[in-house]
């Protein structure tokens, strides 16, 4: 019996809680991480790291919402949100950074500001 493929969702890649990804993950769409990632994680769009996720990797993304554990540098071109449950060991760089009370963050923080986004938008227009 053929099974049906998963229905379309806003997330192109879902790394579930029981799954471990090793290596350089490169995607185009939104990525949700609920499991483990070792290596690098790169996408042009949104990365969501859920509360139970553990990432030992550098993250490069369009924007990111972190609620889990990340050991590595996070570089996003737009907005980075660290939830109260987030544990980040590494440097972060984003145009906008939001850190909720309770989040653990050890590293350097570089906020490039919204001007960068505006300039890039003008360049692409």
């Amino acid at each position: 019996m053929f099974s049906k493929p998963p229905e379309k969702s806003e997330f192109e890649t879902i790394i579930g809680p029981s799954v471990k990804v090793e290596g350089d993950f490169v995607g185009d769409g939104n990525v949700i991480v609920e499991g483990l990632v070792n290596g690098n994680l790169r996408t042009g769009k949104l990365v969501v790291v859920s509360e139970k996720a553990k990432i030992t990797a550098n993250i490069n993304a369009g924007s990111a919402r972190i609620a889990g554990e990340v050991t590595g540098n996070i570089k996003v071109t737009e907005r980075l949100d660290l939830a109260g449950s987030a544990k980040v060991s590494g440097d972060i760089e984003a145009a906008i950074v939001s850190i909720e009370a309770g989040a653990c963050f050890n590293g350097k923080c570089a906020v490039t500001g919204t001007n960068v986004i505006k300039k890039e938008a003008i360049k692409t227009a």
């Binding site: 019996m1 998963p6 890649t13 790394i15 579930g16 799954v19 090793e22 490169v26």
Partner: protein, 238 residues
């Protein structure tokens, strides 16, 4: 021009009436053609090759999914030739997915000749339509040559399914439900162009079942191909 391939099991006496009905229907619809009854001494591959050389544009399989799967390898390189199916026996999932009813009812569909171009995926030089299932998920699964998926005790399926109009394979990992309450864990989804499946340890056997019919033993490489096969489908065909 149509050519028909009868599956081997249809030679049995009990199918005599159905065979006659199908042949009468095909003649009435004006789409009768050469009939081939498969047996141990002939192969569908050879027949198809000869028929295409003869200029046949429609190869019709009368039988189950197993025969359809055998035939697609032979038709893959011929974009002008269409595959028709008259489902008989079990399983006939492929035909059902194309909206083709079993038996005689499939004959009018062949005459309507509604064509769909179906993208084929390849596993170790063999083609498949829909899905490949890894029977021993504790295997090395390498996507696009850059990252590995470690899944443990889970059901892994690879769908030949475009995502947002991108030509990709969709790999899903569904962990087995565990615990007293059989609580299921959410599914993982990956999209990639190429998947390499290898045994994790020496001596381990990893089997992959493509379209529920073709069994392939790892190491196996699954990839999307630019090859499309013309299939005659019913109105409700997906």
């Amino acid at each position: 021009m149509y050519s028909y391939l009868y599956d081997q099991f249809l030679s049995h006496e009990k199918y005599f009436r159905t065979r006659s009905l199908i042949e009468t229907n095909l003649t009435d619809l004006g789409i009768n053609g050469k009939m081939f009854r498969l047996n141990l001494l002939n192969s569908p591959q050879e027949i198809i090759r000869d028929e295409i050389k003869r200029g046949v544009k429609n190869i019709v399989v009368i039988g189950n999914d197993r025969l359809v799967c055998q035939v697609i390898d032979s038709l893959a390189g011929f974009p002008d030739v269409a595959l028709g199916i008259i489902p008989m026996g079990e399983p006939t999932e492929i035909a059902t997915n194309f909206g083709i009813p079993p038996g005689v009812a499939a004959c009018p569909i062949l005459s309507t000749r509604l064509i769909r171009q179906v993208r084929l995926a390849k596993i170790n030089n063999r083609y498949f339509f829909y899905q490949a299932e890894i029977k021993n998920p504790d295997a090395m699964i390498r996507c696009d040559g850059i990252y590995n998926i470690v899944a443990g005790n889970a059901s892994i399926k690879i769908f030949n399914q475009p995502v947002n109009e991108k030509e990709v394979l969709l790999a899903t990992v569904q962990p087995q439900a565990t615990g007293l309450l059989r609580k299921s864990v959410s599914q993982s989804v990956f999209s990639c162009q190429r998947i390499l499946i290898e045994p994790r340890e020496k001596g381990q056997t990893v089997k992959i079942l493509a379209d529920d019919q073709k069994e392939i033993v790892a190491p196996a490489e699954i990839e999307i191909t630019g090859i499309k096969l013309k299939v005659i489908i019913g109105k409700s065909g997906i």
